[in-house]
Structures are given as C-alpha cells and as structure tokens.
Amino acid sequence: MANIWVVVQTRAEGIHPMALETLVAGQALAAELGGSASAVVLGDGVMDRSGELSSWELSAVHVIEHEALAAYTPGAYIGALSAAIGSEAPDYVLFPHTYQSVEYVPRLAYSVNGAMVPEATAFRVEEGAVIWRRPAYGGKLQADVRASGSPVLVSVQSGAYSASDRREGNAPVAALAVSTEIIADREILGVEEVAGEHVDLSAAERVVSAGRGVGGEDKMGVIHDLAAALGAVVGASRPVIDSGWLPRDCQIGSSGQTVSPELYVAAGISGAIQHLVGMKGSQVVVAINKDRSAPIFGVANYGIVGDLHEVIPALIEAIEEAKAG
C-alpha cells in the first residue's frame, strides 16, 4: 500500500492553483498503486485554509503550523518536511512544479536521502514500478525515467492534471507535530516590481512574438514590420529580452506577461513550457519555425515551416494583397 503525500503550496490569495492539480495527480497515483493520498499544508495560521481540502478524497489533511513557517524559506521548509517525512515515511511526496518548489525540493530530497523527479507531466505503472514522463531539451524531447528507493519526491508540471478531475470525499484535517527546531536560513527584505513592467500586453488583440530564432537585434525589423501589417503589438520569448533585443516589458511567459489575444504569431520560438504558459489563452496561434519538430507546432493552429526571414516578408506581402483585394 503506497502512502502518497501532496505538499500544498499556499499564497496570500489562498491555495496555489498548481497545488490543486498536483492533488489530482496524487489521487491518480494512489488509485493506480492501491494506496492513499494525503495533503500536507505548511505555514502559520493555515488551519482555516486547509479546511477547504476536507471535501477532497484524501486520507488526511496534515497541517504543520509553526511561526517560522509564516514566510517561505528553504531552511524552514526543509527542516519541517524532512522531520515529517522521517517520522511518517511516505513513499511518494508530490509538489507543484512552482518556482518555490524547484528551489527547495531537490535539497529536501537530498536531506531525506530520497530520489528527485523534477517536472513530471505524466506517470504510468509497469510491474509495480512507476515510470515518470518529463520534458528534456526545453521540451524538444520527452524522457521516461524510473526512480529507485524511497521516498520519491516528484514535482508536477502545470497543466499535466486538471483540478476539475478531483475525486470528492471527506478528509479529516489534523495538526501534524514536528519534533525539530525549524530555522529560517534567509532574511526576507521585501518584494519589488520588475523595472519596466508598464506596457500592458494583456489586453492586446494581436501579438507578434519574436524568439531567439530571429537571430539578432539587427534582424528584428521583420518582426516590427509584420506587427505593423497586422496592427499587432510586439512580444518576445525570454532569450530575446535577455539579449537586449527588446525591453523587459515585452517578455511573455511564466516570468513575464500573460496574453490572450485573438491572434498570436510565434516566430522563431521553440515552445518551451515557460513560454507557453504565457500565451496558451490565445485564440488562434500561428507558428513560424524552421524546425518541423519544434514543440510550438504542438500548440499552434497553423504553422509555416521555414526560415522566418523568408517567410515573414512573403507573409506581409500576402497580408497587403488580402487587404487590398
């Protein structure tokens, strides 16, 4: 009987949406392995918030309350969770693959002498062994991996499971005492807005987005020209911003802006998950990429395979003709 834990990340507004997806992954794993799933919530004064989980099919909602857990720090989270994992010995511990988890979970795996599976998007069970699927090479490839030993710590990627697939039930909520000193290992000084986040792309109806494939700041002209022809605003993937070809406000993705236009044109963008989360609400997606196997074609409605420096001028011409005719 497998004992599965899901560590539920909370934030000021409540439970992190990716944590709900991860709970569904935990329920699915429990069903598949024949076992039980429970939730673990950490914090200070989070008992109330945990009540929300009592309508889920879970064997328990464990609440670890401690004043040192009021704000997240890796030291405190690792201290509390490694003590809890040490005393309760779960076989699998699932986490949402958030920026917070990526920071502390691998180190937690080290401290509980466990295995770490980062960024799982699916699993299957073969002869009692769980095989996890995860992306590699920025999503260009997929890998199937198997972890040995116990516990196995897994971070579950956004969008892999849907919170609406949850099984309902009646879970008891109870405090879980941890018998260790919990120590924060960083001083939090504050939060700041990223400079230049003032161009709001979220309301744009058409977006033309440039990727690293454009090839240089001096070659960005085609992107601006296409945007002008379409009456679109210009966005970009992260490497374009990091290289200084466009200002930071133009970045679309998990660490940039979220857009939901009618038309999204991705030119020279491979389609890494961190980019996709920023544009998946687009109605019609057009991808222009010279690599037929680029993952962006998996989310596009239309695609042109080719060199964007040849395709875009032709596209502008075709748009002008269509407008005229």
Partner: protein, 264 residues
Amino acid sequence: MKIAVCIKQVPDTEARLRVRSDGLGVDEEDLPFVINESDGYALEEALMIAEKTGGDVVVFSLGSERVREALRKALALGATRAVHLDDVAFAGGDAMATARALAAAIDGEEFDLVLTGSQSDDAGYGSTGSIVAGHLGWPHAWLVMGVEVEDGESSARVTREMESGVNEVLRLALPAVIEVQAGINQPRYASLKGIMQAKRKEIAGKSASDLGLSENEVGAAGSRLETLAVFFPESGETAEIFEGDPAESARRLVEKLQKEARVL
C-alpha cells in the same frame, strides 16, 4: 572573495537533435556543444564580483574530455583556474550524483560563494546547485536576478525572480550557493589576450578517488533516476502546416486566417 562556478557543457539549443539508436539519449556525434546558457551568466556574475571585491574565480565542470573546451573558454573570459571532474565513473549521473561529485571537489577548498546556473538546457533538472548547497550545509537561492555582496563580505543581498514579473529581495549569510537565472547581466566576450592567457592557465583533472568518493556513489551507479527512453513528443498536434515555397505557404496561411479562423 574566492568564488567557485559550476558550468555544464550542453548541446547548442539551436542544434538539430537526433535520438541515439539505443533510445536512451541523444546522438552526440557532430553535435555543437556550448556552455549552458544560465551557467554563462553565473560565470559573468562571478567575474564581476571578483573584480569588485578582489579575488579569484575557479570553474568546475564534470564530463568527458570534451568539456575542457568549455573550461578553456571560461579561463579565456577571466577565470583564474579550472577543475575538470574527469572520470568515466562520473558518466550518466543524475543531479544527486553530479552534485555529490561537485560538492566534494568544492569542499576541498575554502570558497566564500558558489555560483551555478539555475537550470541546464539539456536534462533541465534545475536541481544540481541546491543539492550542492545541501552537501555543503550552506544557504542557497534559486533563480537569482541580482547579487550584491554586502560590507564585511559576510552576507549578500540577493534578488530572486518569482512568477509573473515580481522579484523577492533577501539576505543570505555567506558562504552560500547562488543559482543564477539568465538575463542577470550581459556576459562579456573573450578577448584575444584572454584567449592567449588561458593557454597558460591550469586545468586540474580530478577522479572519483581523488575526491574520496567510491565509484558507486557517482555517475549512473550513484544515481536515483534511471532514464528508460528518450523520444520526440508524439505529434498530437492540431496545427495545419504549410511547407515548401514561402510565398505559397504565406498565401495559403493568409487565406486560412481570413476565411477559416476569421482573424484577419
């Protein structure tokens, strides 16, 4: 300050990948290799901190003979010397095994700071730096977009990226491990002088036994993850794709956007 930087050599993100015939990895023959993107930013940050505070940058990399190119490049950019974790026993390791070896090599000297990239462009575990921190027992921060060593050099003010365009500012006691995110700075180019000087700089090779590690603690034997298969995603794709002549593709796309999608 004495700063260690861990760099990984990975296939260029522009390279056309082929899956190896055994299906367990990519075919490395003729593949162009470069320093992992975020590691390059980590190296630049280390060089800038060392210039400001006075000190040395020592680069570490684990891998085959080929990674010496990446180390040589780091030396040309300004690192003082390099350590190559060079042993067939290191091959095929996951983040746990790789971090164990790197931490053992770093622990042999007294560093004030360890900088790594936040994620590799190949395996993408995003884990190695924080596990190194675990081994060393130092505080760490991931996805760092700013580092300022504070007066007295006993702490650093660190800016860390969070989701959706917000940064968190925190203070870490030194020594610490800092995992740098791409975009933190503008990496420099190697000068001709730097390239010439790099030829005389030391690259020390270290085997598992040099680091006091047994062969089953490192590489595939010391790993908790086993890769069973690597493959291109099944194209459950929805896209209607045009290939061939750009003008013809463009014309057909515009027609679709007008008549079918009705967005033009």
